[in-house]
């Protein structure tokens, strides 16, 4: 099962702040990686619309591309967590988004982190990857 999940955090100006891939099988090829980035980026408009229609942070599925689904979670500060996935696993995704959100809040509280800038913390990266392995 080579089902790569691509997780991206997008800032307020559609700028990418963080990216990670979780593959439960074979690692995705370079080309597929660029494709997933493109797909996620193109669904940002839909996310922006969906944000105003719901009071919850977890928007769940917002878009489809071929066989893939895109789910999204938008924080109160309009930082968007985007996940590109093949299977519809709402519960796992909900749990994943919640845990990543908690990690994100800890980064945001750090006085030395400027909001809307790329997240370079190695600790954050390794923890997100562990969460990916745990949920997917």
């Amino acid at each position: 099962m080579s089902v790569p999940y691509t997780f991206t955090i997008v800032g307020k100006n559609d700028n990418p702040l963080y990216e990670a891939e979780f593959a439960s099988g074979v690692k995705a090829k370079e080309q597929a990686h660029h494709l997933s980035q493109f797909v996620i980026h193109s669904s940002i408009d839909l996310v922006e619309e969906a944000v105003w229609k719901s009071t919850a942070m977890n928007l769940k599925g917002v878009d489809r591309f071929g066989k893939s689904y895109i789910s999204s979670f938008v924080t109160a500060g309009h930082i968007k967590f985007m996940l590109l996935h093949e299977k519809k696993e709402e519960d796992a995704i909900k749990g994943f988004f919640q845990d990543v959100y908690e990690l994100y809040v800890k980064i945001a509280i750090n006085p030395f982190y400027q909001l809307n800038t790329p997240i370079t913390s190695v600790a954050f990266d390794s923890r997100v990857k562990k969460l990916g392995a745990k949920y997917f």
């Binding site: 800890k106 980064i107 509280i109 750090n110 006085p111 030395f112 982190y113 913390s121 600790a123």
Partner: protein, 196 residues
């Protein structure tokens, strides 16, 4: 062996005093405190740019806090005169830190003449959630505490030097402040009255 432990506990009632005082004082939200301190430090870093200068400024700020804090401390804790510097160390670590930060520090590593000791902190509300960027190696983030110790002890006639030697933000497992007694001050006429 049991008797030795009992004797040690009897000689150190400061833990208990610390907890009693802590229970009586007003509390504020820890996150508010941490975030406020965080923004002070980041602002200083932006204003001074040189990290060594930031350390100095934090220490000065701490000094100004310490000279005022000591009054509150003595009023609330009712701790009497300390017999010697070793007792001072215990009081600072167990009662002082507990009262104002809610944590207790450990006193370790006395030198032969009992004029220098280490205060070891396991955790510190000032540094919660803080991650130092890589180029900030020179910054002692919680240096304000060194100033507070210096200011407070100066008001009770002890001139000390307090410096950070280890910090959890730099990757160490604990934070450690080294406190050195430089001299015991005799009562002097304050400079402002001396000139007249």
């Amino acid at each position: 062996c049991g008797a030795v432990v009992m004797a040690q506990k009897g000689a150190r009632p400061y833990d208990r005093i610390g907890e009693q005082v802590f229970a009586k004082v007003d509390k504020i939200n820890a996150e508010l405190f941490t975030l406020t301190y965080g923004s002070i430090v980041t602002q200083l870093v932006k204003d001074y740019e040189d990290l060594g200068e930031v350390n100095t400024q934090l220490e000065k700020m701490g000094y100004n806090i310490g000279v005022r804090l000591i009054e509150e401390f003595l009023a609330r804790s009712n701790v009497g005169r300390c017999a010697d510097f070793t007792e001072t160390a215990e009081v600072v670590a167990k009662v002082g830190f507990k009262m104002f930060l809610g944590i207790t520090a450990n006193v370790t590593d006395w030198d032969a003449e009992k004029k220098e000791f280490s205060l070891v902190l396991d955790d510190n509300p000032l540094t919660e959630f803080v991650e130092l960027p890589e180029s900030y190696n020179k910054l002692w983030y919680a240096n304000i505490l060194c100033g507070v110790i210096r200011g407070a002890l100066e008001m009770v006639q002890m001139k000390v030097e307090a410096t950070y030697v280890k910090c959890v933000l730099h990757g160490h497992d604990v934070s450690e402040i080294r406190v050195l007694l430089k001299e015991i001050l005799t009562d002097e006429i304050p400079a402002s009255m001396r000139d007249e």
